[in-house]
């Protein structure tokens, strides 16, 4: 199947057409219209489909800033959270910038219901919310990933009234712990749900008029894709898909990707650093952070630093410091600021813009020991490489200190050290060789720097993950993401193998239900088994298993 990947970025919208054997057939770039993401998507789609000279069907992969913008600009629906908090931290202390109502009812860490919900209380609060114009509701319980029944009971109660157009349940977004993050994720999800639903509706209309498009997938923060249906259920997963697309592009384009590597995407304002271990990108330990919201959304780990081709240049007595702010357009490209790009142009490292203008702006800023434009330009290039390599070094330092909870991980830590630097972005050709030299590593600069996000979007493949929690003493088995819960039979004979098997089967049938077919292998990424002991006797076992479709990309040539 041919694929069209579209990444609606902050400035430009990139589109790439890949052939069936994943060669780049065409790439286009159009300016993004912030106020109309759909129009930007359509424009890019039409432009690239015009370049397509056959009638083979295509699959469309979309990465948009729709939810991200709605969240950052506060344009989501008016949403309130009903929190089944129980005892613990005072929810008011969190200072959420949205309405959170603590309601009766909670479960404990084993998923046992300690207190039931109070229907009257809920209806009273909900009625007031309705009167005040609240459109969407998020229902979030502490430990609801261990027992979702209270969240479901509240939802069913509200549905009988039909007051709200969207109801998001905390447990459906993630099987991971962290109540405040679950609250924030569910709040954001509920607030952007109708925006995503409208978008999906319009995309479906586009498909109707373009029979060549066989299927549409939406990009997620973890670099994978999901179907349209799922994107309506979990729109929050579409946040930050742009940065993920660039990392996926790196994975798609790099020659051998089975080893450890550091991916460096140098842009105009910022540089994003990502880490590849054994061919797979590292993920955020807890979930994506967007603005002031910490979520449970699985996201690729990227470290963004304020250093890029258009960074400010601060000339000090003994050294030069770049960034963290953007100076403006490079003098050589028609602006009036001195930027690292000017230094590169003046030194002839790149052929771009007007070299004389670059030299002129450098001459204006000569100072102290940087008494000629040449010395200044060279010092700026060196400072860029130094700052970037320091940032990479610090990121790895932090990663080696990430807490671990087993003796074996302390004694034999996983080797994450990079074996290669992979560079992306327009300034990569200038800076990556210098950075690699400082880090004493080989490097590779990827082709198609200009539209790599479109390639990443096109090459992405589906991801899906579920968390299985079995407590044999409680005779319970729960998969929160699927809102699945069953009472296990023959609890004394339930073992780890069985738990793993069920996790894999459930993931497979979920993938089928979501219309996924071309996905990669299924892998178990978390596997815990603990005894439950009463007195001095083992009375049960607890299994926690996370299964996922291995994040993968098509190799693009």
């Amino acid at each position: 199947m041919q694929v069209v990947g579209i990444d609606v970025g902050g400035t430009n919208t990139d589109a790439t057409l890949l052939s069936e054997d994943k060669r780049v057939l065409a790439m286009v770039k159009t300016p993004t219209d912030h106020s109309n993401i759909l129009a930007s998507t359509k424009a890019a789609l039409n432009k690239i489909l015009k370049l397509k000279n056959d009638a083979h069907p295509v699959q469309l992969h979309l990465s948009t800033t729709l939810s991200t913008n709605a969240i950052v600009e506060g344009k989501g629906d008016s949403t309130a959270v009903l929190a089944l908090a129980g005892p613990g931290l005072n929810i008011a202390d969190f200072g959420f910038n949205f309405s959170v109502y603590s309601i009766q009812g909670y479960v404990d860490h084993r998923g046992r219901i300690v207190k039931e919900i109070d229907r009257e209380e809920i209806l009273k609060i909900a009625n007031q919310l309705r009167i005040d114009g609240t459109k969407s509701i998020a229902i979030v319980g502490k430990f609801s990933h261990r027992n979702n029944s209270l969240e479901i009971a509240v939802k069913e109660l509200l549905e009988t009234q039909g007051w709200f157009k969207v109801i998001t349940l905390g447990h459906q977004l993630s099987g991971s712990p962290n109540f405040p993050r679950r609250i924030m994720s569910a709040y954001l999800n509920a607030s952007v749900a109708s925006i995503q639903a409208n978008f999906v509706q319009m995309i479906e209309e586009i498909i109707k008029t373009n029979p060549i498009i066989s299927d549409v997938k939406i990009l997620k923060a973890d670099g994978g894709t999901m179907g349209l249906k799922e994107s309506c259920l979990r729109p929050i997963e579409t946040i930050l898909s742009g940065p993920a697309a660039s990392i996926m592009a790196a994975l798609a384009l790099v020659e051998t990707c089975a080893d450890n590597a550091v991916v460096v995407d140098i842009g105009g304002t910022t540089t994003d650093i990502a880490v590849i271990v054994g061919g797979e990108p590292l993920y955020q330990r807890n979930g994506a952070v967007i603005g002031e919201y910490q979520t449970l959304v699985p996201a690729l780990l990227t470290h963004s630093i304020g250093l890029g081709g258009d960074s400010e240049v601060h000339i000090e007595e003994h050294n030069i410091v770049l960034g963290p702010k953007r100076a403006g357009t490079a003098a050589a490209l028609g602006g009036d600021s001195l930027t690292p790009t000017d230094a590169a142009i003046a030194l002839g490292l790149v052929e771009l813009g007007v070299k004389e203008k670059a030299i002129a702006v450098l001459k204006q800023r000569t100072k102290g020991k940087y008494d000629s434009w040449l010395k200044l330009a060279e010092a700026i290039i060196d400072a860029f490489a130094y700052q970037l390599s320091e940032a990479i070094h610090e990121m790895y330092q932090r990663l080696t200190k990430v807490p671990v909870y087993t003796v074996s991980e302390i004694l034999a830590p996983k080797d994450i050290r990079p074996k290669k630097v992979i560079g992306l972005g327009a300034p990569a050709t200038v800076f990556i060789p210098l950075v690699a030299k400082i880090l004493n590593l080989p490097y590779q600069i990827l082709p198609y720097s200009a539209g790599s996000n479109g390639i990443g979007a096109a090459a992405a493949r589906p991801t899906l993950a579920i968390s299985l929690h079995v407590d044999t003493e409680e005779e319970s088995l729960i998969i929160p993401e699927l809102a699945y819960r069953e009472k296990i039979k023959r609890r004394l004979f339930f073992d780890r193998k069985q738990a793993r098997r069920i996790a894999i089967e459930k993931l497979e049938s979920y993938a089928e239900q979501m219309g996924l077919s071309d996905y990669g292998e299924i892998q178990i990424i978390e596997d815990e088994a603990f005894n439950v002991v009463r007195g001095f006797y083992t009375v049960g076992r607890i299994f926690s298993i996370k299964a996922q479709i291995r994040p993968a990309v098509w190799r693009v040539r």
């Binding site: 129980g86 005892p87 613990g88 931290l89 005072n90 202390d93 969190f94 200072g95 404990d108 860490h109 084993r110 300690v114 502490k142 430990f143 712990p177 962290n178 109540f179 405040p180 993050r181 807890n286 002031e292 910490q294 200190k401 990430v402 807490p403 671990v404 909870y405 087993t406 003796v407 074996s408 302390i410 004694l411 815990e528 603990f530 005894n531 439950v532 002991v533 007195g535 001095f536 006797y537 083992t538 607890i542």
Partner: protein, 443 residues
């Protein structure tokens, strides 16, 4: 936005792949539910609460405290080194001012481990707090004054043994009365050795002591003692087995009570000790401790099965507690008036014979100890130690210990005795420990 008022370093290490044995209280999932609760509450996302990965203690760090027989390598497993290393890191975080307070929330525990280690007792092999104290002294020098307040329900007999003649350490242990609980020691009559008499403070509490009693003891006794002794650092060995749901003890503390206790003590470093109500107590107590250390509100915290009547302590228990507090305070106030010659004799040496039982490893150790009664320093020490035959290998050893700030005479005598002892044919090993010189010898 919620932010910690005090920056807290959390060295969390649940050792999910280690146990003493499958059904033993000290097993893999001891901190499982605690992890679940801490993460679910979102504590680790709060700015100012920072999690750290433990370091591994080296042989040298352990030998500054322990005489491991026959060797550190033979007695100390990797999980113990990590727990000790994590505790040392907790101290470093505070000394380096990376955080205001730190909490080593890790296992295995250590407060029943004595200076001489033939095996494990009371689930402990090496003493995490003691290793940390020596680490601190190696960084700050011997003049630093360190108070250890042990709030585990069991008497901290190991920590008491290690510091019982150490003028630099004030050791206060609150525990369920030894007449009703392992290890049986911890009477208020155990008051320390000749060089630090009165600095071992035991506060045996009657079974049934609740939050009310514990807070009374803290306010009326522990805080005044600390205020008078003026430590540079306060370490809280925070066992969590005074909780009403603990299966091994008979006390009535609640999670909120523990948080209040932490608030009152205002410790610089907290180290987890025992506590085996792993589902009903630890998740809530540990959240309470972290909140209290961070200066955050813990008033909404309670165990699912907690009930206000829990606060009610029987009148008889309250009366007993008041008596204990009066007695211990009296001993503390008069500690300097005690007639040391009457207690420790007029000879050159004070000697004692002891038998120590290692419940976990089923070993009986016989000890003969001799401390020089010195006017210049706390006096060098000689310990002969011998284990029973039967389970495993048995050893007969001698250890010579030169104290911090030792006088020249004591150091000379200790060295010459070491030389003499190494010629003995009946001893398997002879050890020499001199912390000030950072010297450890084994022959």
């Amino acid at each position: 936005m919620i932010t910690a008022k005090h920056r807290v370093g959390l060295v969390f290490f649940p050792a999910f792949d280690w146990c003493i044995s499958a059904d033993h209280p000290e097993r893999e999932e001891r901190l499982l539910y605690t992890r679940d609760q801490i993460i679910e509450e979102g504590l680790l996302d709060i700015p100012g609460i920072v999690e750290y990965r433990p370091i591994v203690a080296e042989e040298k760090d352990i030998q500054r405290v322990h005489i491991c027989v026959p060797s550190v390598a033979k007695r100390v497993s990797e999980p113990h080194r990590i727990a000790a290393g994590g505790t040392m890191l907790a101290a470093d975080l505070v000394l380096d001012k990376k955080v205001e307070r730190s909490f080593a929330l890790l296992r295995p525990p250590g407060h029943h481990a004595n200076r001489i280690v033939h095996g494990s007792r009371g689930f402990c092999t090496i003493n995490n707090e003691a290793i940390m104290v020596e680490h601190i002294r190696h960084r700050l020098g011997p003049k630093v004054r360190i108070a250890i307040v042990d709030t585990d329900a069991h008497h901290a007999d190991g920590t008491q043994d290690i510091f019982y003649n150490d003028p630099g350490v004030l050791h206060i242990s609150l525990h369920q009365d030894g007449r009703t609980l392992y290890p049986g020691t911890g009477s208020f009559l155990e008051r320390g050795g000749p060089a630090s008499f009165g600095q071992t403070v035991n506060i045996p509490l009657p079974p049934g002591t609740g939050d009310e009693g514990m807070l009374y003891v803290t306010e009326q006794l522990v805080l005044p003692i600390l205020a008078e002794w003026k430590p540079d650092l306060i370490i809280n060995a925070a066992g969590q087995d005074n909780h009403y749901s603990d299966p091994l003890t008979n006390m009535e503390f609640s999670a909120r009570g523990y948080a209040q206790l932490t608030d009152l003590l205002n410790p610089d470093i907290v180290v987890l000790e025992g506590g085996y109500s792993i589902e009903g107590a630890l998740p809530y107590v540990n959240v309470g401790l972290i909140l209290a250390l961070a200066g955050l509100d813990y008033s909404h915290l309670k165990e699912p099965d907690w009930h206000p009547t829990r606060l009610k302590q029987s009148r008889q228990v309250t009366e007993t507690i008041h008596e204990v507090v009066d007695q211990v305070w009296n001993l503390w106030e008069n500690r300097k008036k005690a007639n040391l010659q009457q207690i420790f004799g007029k000879d050159r040496f004070y000697t004692r014979h002891r038998q120590i039982f290692y419940d976990t490893d089923q070993i009986i150790e016989k000890q003969y100890e001799r401390i020089r009664l010195c006017n210049e320093c706390s006096g060098w020490r000689l310990i002969f130690s011998e284990t029973n035959e039967g389970v495993g290998l048995s050893f007969k050893i001698a250890a010579i210990i030169v104290p911090w700030l030792s006088c020249n005479l004591c150091r000379r005598e200790a060295l010459s005795d070491f030389d003499k002892l190494t010629e003995s044919k009946t001893l398997d090993y002879v050890y020499f420990q001199d912390n000030e010189q950072d010297l450890f010898l084994c022959k």
